[in-house]
Symmetry: C2
Subunit: 256 residues, 2 copies
């Protein structure tokens, strides 16, 4: 990753990142972020006014396909998605890609790097994406003095533990797809987005890899859902026409 990409938050007017990056606009968006409680400690985007200057930096924009971090990079920070979407992936010995997860605005990536001290996977932008980078040493130090921040980090880590079990079990392709679509919707909804229609920024192969299916099966399953009136697909935008029936289909995977 190029260090030229790193920009310190410099306060109102000095930051060209658009509405999301302004110190005032940020506070509204940031309320739904998974790291908001830590971020609140530094005054919602005014770290230069705080003793914690340097804890958080704005990163990006990245373009589709660019890597935010790569497998093996030394772990120094976690990243909150500010805009756009990201996938994490592993490349096995024969360069076959395994997609571990997708991450929406307000969600956090990189926590799995704590253990080994290096990132265990790549993080790839799926479209134009921006991030808040939180120095982990600074964050840990903050956590020892602010129990609320420590608790927040524990919960964040614990939560990720549960959500990974989505792909466990021996469920069929339609169950997996339904659960995946509903889960994405729920996560968008949790961040203040509609939840019944959103953009699928990843390719069919990405979904397939993540769900343990073939790209053709994903395509076929979506076609079947469309024929059954469960979903509508316009361009890259997905509409959940019957969220209830989809949720019912995937209930065993969504129980978590």
């Amino acid at each position: 990753m190029s260090e030229a990409r790193v920009r310190r938050v410099a306060g109102r007017g000095a930051d060209p990142l658009g509405p999301l990056a302004g110190t005032d606009g940020a506070s509204e968006f940031c309320r739904s972020c998974a790291l908001s409680s830590a971020c609140a400690m530094v005054g919602y985007g005014k770290p230069e006014l705080s003793p914690l200057h340097g804890l958080m930096q704005h990163l990006g924009p990245y373009r589709a396909g660019e890597l935010v971090f790569r497998q093996g990079d030394p772990f120094e920070a976690v990243y909150a998605v500010r805009a756009g979407t990201v996938k994490t992936r592993l490349l096995d010995r024969d360069n076959r890609e395994h997609v571990l997860g997708f991450f929406l605005p307000g969600e956090v990536i990189g926590l799995d790097g704590i253990y080994q001290g290096r990132f265990p996977c790549d993080a790839v932008a799926l479209d134009d994406a921006q991030f808040c980078r939180f120095s982990f040493p600074a964050m840990s130090a903050l956590a020892t003095r602010q129990p609320a921040v420590q608790r927040h980090l524990f919960r964040l880590l614990s939560r990720s533990l549960g959500t990974v079990n989505l792909l466990a079990g021996d469920h069929g392709a339609d169950v997996r797809m339904a659960a995946f679509l509903v889960d994405l919707g729920d996560r968008y909804a949790a961040r203040g987005f509609p939840g019944t229609h959103y953009q699928l920024s990843m390719s069919r192969s990405d979904m397939a890899s993540h769900l343990g299916l073939a790209a053709e099966t994903v395509s076929r399953t979506l076609s079947r859902f469309r024929a059954q009136g469960l979903i509508r697909v316009e361009q890259r935008v997905l509409h959940l026409c019957e969220p209830q029936r989809l949720r019912e289909l995937g209930r065993n995977l969504l129980a978590a």
Copy 2:
């Protein structure tokens, strides 16, 4: 869970749990435990001498099939396996069991309960098992004053994040089995046990459920491995005759 099972550590001679439970014997065993650093803070089993009295309690013994905690129980503590083995599982709407993981002596269960404040799964003893129960509020409080403990908890949580990806991807039955067997061996080895031969305390259906296979497929795969001279099975004890070839078979899943 019956509160009658809970016994406070009462010091040498008052504890009928056998060699593992003695304060001196414990210090040797505990060195390989995943919570040893936290445990060291209370003097290796002498919490009555510490200001942290009440942080840790010995639990058990439980017998095969007994539940250590159940899905929905309020989360108040994490559990380190002191002896025996445990599985965690989810029951879906039709009471079909999904095995999430197996846990060996020295490993920790319950961390995934932090997020919701209640346990998301059952923990079931697979044989005679004993535990160290760590009050999580006390642990968190300790962590704010002891950065080493905080760091340890972060690493523990982060580590579990990575290991869950073992079942991801679309690998064949033999790859999954090989990876599973080698992983178990590695984890036993990490705790000071042999690593090339150990007891399979779970049933074939448990393995199958965990690996996303049918019990019959597990059985067939093991038979094939045996015919190929890769393993030997005596009673419930498994010997890895050719760990290298097994590791090679499962390499794509063990990369983590």
